[in-house]
């Protein structure tokens, strides 16, 4: 029997979808709310939801104790720089693998992915020592390099799957239409590849922005991005929920805004190929 989309069913699934959406979003909402509470209210039991004394005091304290802009700038450099360099390396790589594959192409792809299967902590000591000896500890260059290399396999994989979806026939049609390689690239390939490039860029920006393991271990102050800034509020002297929440809210705000404006692109990117 075919399942008919009755009005009831639509209503039920709408409610269910909102519920799931809210559940997923709730921790973030709770964090934002907590950032406006006093430290006492922040871990009061039972917790108060909306009816408490809204205060900006945490934000003032956080800004007074550490330099938000300094860390935010580092985050932009590290996330943006590593993503751009990764794209520059990955575009030609994925391109050649998608359009002129050899017998070993699949193996190379799998090998690249296999580097992501090992927990990062497994190579922490060697990387740390290398960084120490090359003077890369707590430097923006060092963070850009490690994040770029870490995300490179994912970037290549994503781009490879996008490029694979571009039908060869269309490129050949352009060639038959008298387009030289350069014009084929400008007029046919690029417009078809742009959506894939854009969503790869966005996703990697977000991944790099939130990356905490390497940034926490390889930077202390000079090059420390926002992840380190957050971590500095979960200190051993005791937990300050409200201040931690304020710091976290500040840290995720830029990426949240970016995600909000690019959500169409992101969703398209993540479901690319799954729905035709």
């Amino acid at each position: 029997m075919a399942r008919m989309p009755t009005r009831r069913r639509i209503a039920l699934s709408t409610i269910a979808a909102w519920l799931v959406g809210f559940l997923i979003f709730f921790p973030i909402l709770w964090m934002v709310l907590a950032s406006f509470k006093t430290e006492l209210e922040a871990f009061a039991i039972p917790p108060s939801f909306l009816f408490f004394d809204w205060t900006l005091e945490n934000y003032v304290t956080v800004q007074g104790r550490s330099d938000y802009l300094h860390h935010a700038f580092n985050s932009v450099v590290v996330a943006g720089g590593s993503t751009l360099i990764a794209l520059l390396i990955a575009i030609p790589a994925a391109w050649s693998m998608a359009f002129s594959p050899t017998k070993r192409t699949k193996d190379v792809l799998l090998w690249m992915l296999s580097t992501k299967m090992m927990p990062a902590v497994g190579v922490l000591v060697p990387i740390y020592l290398i960084y120490r000896d090359f003077g890369l500890l707590d430097s923006l260059t060092g963070l850009v390099i490690i994040l770029c290399l870490g995300n490179l396999p994912i970037v290549v994989w994503m781009l490879f799957t996008y490029f694979k979806e571009i039908p060869r026939d269309i490129l050949e049609a352009a060639r038959m239409d008298g387009a030289t390689i350069g014009r084929e690239l400008i007029y046919v390939l690029t417009p078809m590849a742009v959506p894939g490039l854009a969503s790869t860029l966005l996703l990697n920006l977000i991944l790099a922005w939130n990356e905490a393991f390497w940034t926490l271990n390889l930077s202390t102050l000079q090059a420390a991005p926002l992840t380190v800034f957050i971590a500095s509020y979960s200190s051993p002297e005791g937990l300050f929920w409200a201040k931690l929440s304020a710091a976290s809210t500040l840290a995720i705000a830029p990426i949240l805004v970016l995600g909000w404006f690019s959500q169409r692109q992101l969703v398209r990117g993540l479901t690319f190929g799954a729905v035709k």
């Binding site: 026939d169 269309i170 060639r175 038959m176 239409d177 008298g178 387009a179 030289t180 014009r183 417009p191």
Partner: protein, 334 residues
């Protein structure tokens, strides 16, 4: 102008020889169809001519010039792909005009020629749509429009109609033939539909396993097939083949008779048998006859013949229409 000559063209993918030496002369303005079973190398041969694949050996001349080292963009040919291969991000106008833009024509000229091509193909109302907003038949016409607008030396078609439904296919078949005659441009057309081949072609190339089995007009192939393969491939229903002593009587290893060249009678001289299936189409009657040691024979009668399964009939071949083949399968022409 669009005269194309192939000289001993060969293509191998790694160790596998796909095209084993093709020689062809395609006259300017003619409509040549490549037919053959799936996997015989029709598409490969077409792509070699287009320049989308490099030849392993041999020469391809377009208007007397060897083009094997010339890239596809410079060969002056246009191609219609089976998948249409329209540019998804361009409008119909952009798709049709792309080749002209690449050729560096002035805008006004491009626009004039695109509109003329669109008018010929009844695409005028759709000029500003994107390919995804068109039906299959309309996309097909855009692909054809893109090919004709450039006034190429030759059109290359790779099974352009195979994604269309039967009715539209017949209509487009006529349309393409008419257009080609009107433009007078050389066309090479790949299909495995032998009705398309017989109706559209000035000349047919029958390919089998990478070899040209025969090159001739549709009627030549029908009346004087060069060998068993061509005899069996051209014509529908398939030619009947008889071997053994019944063939020896005609001085051949195998004889072939087309279903339409078997006389059907109740009694008399010939090959007696029992009807296993009788198909009545109104316009034609097809009989499948079990003729004992000779095997199963197919006979065609134009018009209605009221016979049914189980009836006994005698089939006698028209003497002038018997094809004789030697033991290697080559025709023994008299």
């Amino acid at each position: 102008m669009g005269q194309i000559t192939l000289q001993n063209v060969q293509k191998a993918f790694g160790p596998v020889h796909i095209i084993k030496g093709a020689n062809l002369e395609i006259a300017d303005g003619s409509f040549v169809v490549f037919v053959g079973p799936s996997g015989c190398g029709k598409t490969t041969l077409l792509r070699l001519i287009a320049g989308l694949e490099d030849v392993t050996d041999g020469k391809i001349f377009i208007d007397g010039k060897n083009v094997v080292a010339v890239p596809p963009a410079k060969r002056g040919l246009s191609m219609v792909f089976q998948s249409y291969a329209l540019y998804p991000h361009m409008s119909v106008r952009g798709n049709i005009g792309f080749g002209l833009k690449m050729a560096g024509l002035p805008r006004a000229e491009i626009s004039r020629r695109v509109e003329a091509a669109a008018a010929t193909l009844n695409l005028t109302p759709y000029l500003d749509r994107k390919p995804r907003e068109l039906s299959g038949g309309q996309r097909q016409r855009v692909a054809i429009g893109r090919a004709i607008v450039r006034e190429p030396k030759a059109f290359l078609f790779d099974e352009p109609l195979s994604n269309l439904d039967a009715a539209l296919r017949v209509q487009m078949r006529i349309e393409v033939t008419r257009l080609q005659k009107q433009l007078g441009t050389t066309a090479i057309y790949v299909t495995h539909d032998q009705v398309e081949a017989m109706t559209m072609a000035d000349k047919i190339v029958v390919l089998n396993a990478g070899r040209v089995e025969q090159y001739g007009t549709p009627l030549e192939l029908y009346e004087r097939p060069a060998n068993l393969f061509v005899a069996g491939f051209i014509g529908s229903p398939k030619m009947n083949f008889i071997s053994g002593e019944n063939a020896a009587k005609y001085g051949a290893a195998t004889v072939g008779v087309r279903p339409e060249h078997l006389r059907i009678s109740r009694e008399g001289e010939g090959w007696p048998g029992t009807i296993t299936v009788a198909e009545h189409l109104g316009s034609d009657t097809f009989l499948y006859v079990d003729a004992g040691p000779i095997g199963t024979l197919t006979a065609r009668y134009v018009g209605e013949l009221s016979l049914a399964a189980g009836d006994r009939v005698v089939l006698s071949p028209e003497p002038a229409r018997i094809h004789r083949f030697d033991k290697d399968g080559n025709s023994l022409w008299t």
